[in-house]
Subunit: 219 residues, 2 copies
Amino acid sequence: MSKRNKALVVFSGGQDSTTCLFWAKQKFAEVEALSFDYGQKHRLELELAAKIANDAQVPFQVLKLDLLGQITNNALTTPGMDVEAEKPDNSPPNTLVEGRNMLFLTYAAIYAKSKGIHHLVTGVGQADYSGYPDCRDEFIRSLNQTLNLSMDFAYEIHTPLMWRSKEEVWHLSDELGVFDLVRTKTLTCYNGIVGDGCGNCPACKLRRNGLESYLAKRP
Amino acid sequence: MSKRNKALVVFSGGQDSTTCLFWAKQKFAEVEALSFDYGQKHRLELELAAKIANDAQVPFQVLKLDLLGQITNNALTTPGMDVEAEKPDNSPPNTLVEGRNMLFLTYAAIYAKSKGIHHLVTGVGQADYSGYPDCRDEFIRSLNQTLNLSMDFAYEIHTPLMWRSKEEVWHLSDELGVFDLVRTKTLTCYNGIVGDGCGNCPACKLRRNGLESYLAKRP
């Protein structure tokens, strides 16, 4: 089997990356999943990710990335800092972890090259843009080129959700046959509640609004 | 004082980054130095870096980056793997740490943004190209753009040594008044010997050849 037909999915166990995991399983002959332990408060995230990967029969690896929490200040890793319910202005939310996607994808690329894997898959998207600059398409395209130059290796970063709204992400999971799994087993909630979540944090609202729109149209 | 006149130097305590540190001190009103502990065998490197930064009266910080050594295989971090004296072919030397400069500069950028610093300085160069893709100008330019997009922040990466041969780097250190300091207090040698080094490893040969060329012309 050609190494060109193997993909590494950057995987958090949330709705988006879980949908990407099953998307990748349909598209590539071999798939692996990679998570990061960057000191996130919700340790459950990594347990759920391991469980979903196991159910999907996908090799799963966690890389420990202590440093990120030490040099940034944000509500996902800083003890005592709460998630803002709404953005006070146009500034990014306090759940932004500066440089996170760039670091995750760079480590994923280094790890992938060591295994001869060229395809990287990430669940970032800008259809429901939440103020994270490192979810934008122009960032991913620039990063792809930089990674290739950095390691003289032909990476291809896939972003199947880039232009899909949350409603369309639910639709995709349904097409992939994992709608129920994604709905009940993934963690998106900033307050660490699995499945439909707390319902009040920005991540839950986005997820629920998309779900309701999709359910209203579901055949 | 404008924050725009402050720079962060990625600093290893070697000839190149030490020359860059003093270059930056001449160019910017405020300078800080950042080193990485990535499990390098020669722990002396970090001690020397601290000492040089202290002598230069530059604030100095070490970030601990365990993960890099764990996911790559190279002669600088892998116990029992020796540095190849000469490259067997056109492939990169086994002292290549995949993705190292990309990670260092990404962490440096995250750290710099948290302090409002826009200018990053690195000693990479391609005049004496040693087979490291992440020392090339096209990589640095691409990375600069990717970092700016990643964090929506106007970074400027400075590479004062990009097109300088080792001879010209010696010349620059002399112009900056730190020729003797660089010659006696920096560590470039892959075998961990300070100053003129072991004389046999590829890094020593490059350094010495440049030094001899420069000394032959020095006024």
